[in-house]
Amino acid sequence: MDVFFLYSSLILCFLVLLCLYRVVFGPTVMDRIISVGAIGNKTTATLLLMGMIYGRVEMFVDIALAYALLNFIATLGAAKFFRVRKSILPGSKYFQERKKGVS
Amino acid sequence: MRLIATFIILFVFWMVMAGKFDLFHASLGIISCLIVTFLSGDLLFKESRKGRGKEVVRFITYIPWLIYQIILANFHVARLALSPKMSELINPQLIRFKVNLKSDISKVTFANSITLTPGTITADIVGDEYLVHGISQPVIDDLLSGDMEQRVAHVFSED
């Protein structure tokens, strides 16, 4: 069973590397934000798997919970920050529509 | 009454998280739960309404159908992502449509159900008009058929 957990976490690490491509080369800022969120999700699962391998789940579960909370708050904060700036691509249709006060 | 319920929920949560049932941890929990209840006790239960019990029972029967829809549509998105002819299959578009839901909580439940069901994301709610982004034609047709809206209306007895 430990071997299964080990290979699962290896696959997850490989997927994190694939996500890192989007973080580095993503065309817009929002691409990077959602990629970092996806990496955080995978890290939460990897932390739990690591706890299973080491046999110390009761310790790793707290770390994973704190990591999930921080990941959520970081994503929300980054989204809020770049929403206030409103300057990634000005002049688009949706930008103008919302500026006129639809909501 | 609301404050006492909030305190009890917080304290049970604390004890589960602490995992040690001795006097020291319990007293720490009581102190911190009292502080949190004093500062933000009115966040958890907004208002007390009649007929909450029926809504809770109907909501619990709504959850399995929602989970079934989530799994079904997740397979749809996975198939889209993995198929080699992806660019012909997807057709992302923004659509607007009106709903007949009245109260705030039913609107929020409907919006969260749309977002949880893969293939569609609620972008904005203006009055009773929803702005939804869908990724391909079948999921949009599925949403516009109004099946989910009827179920949500049934949960909050607005049909």
Partner: protein, 111 residues
Amino acid sequence: MEIVTIIFVSGGLFFFFAATIGLLRFPDFYARMHATGKGDTLGGFLIVLGLAVYNLFHGGHGGFDLASILTSVKIIFIAVFIFLANPTATHAVFKAGLDSGVVPWTKEGSR
């Protein structure tokens, strides 16, 4: 019970994999969010649930004592949190993208 864990974790890995491939392949930011926001939610939920089942029967000092049940309850808290927080974060980032004016990709080209 190990077979249940293997099925859950494998299913979670499959959905994670599909989400990552979708993140790399979809044409614009909004479509990518469909892949990550949803595939990651179900994938993480399945993996965490599978580990909770495994821990309930094999954790602690041989399973089914107070320590293993408490740890499983904590793991299920993580699963519920993932299920609540991920759609909320997706919604927030989507609205931020719409507000900052990233033009959605459509099949007919820009409208």
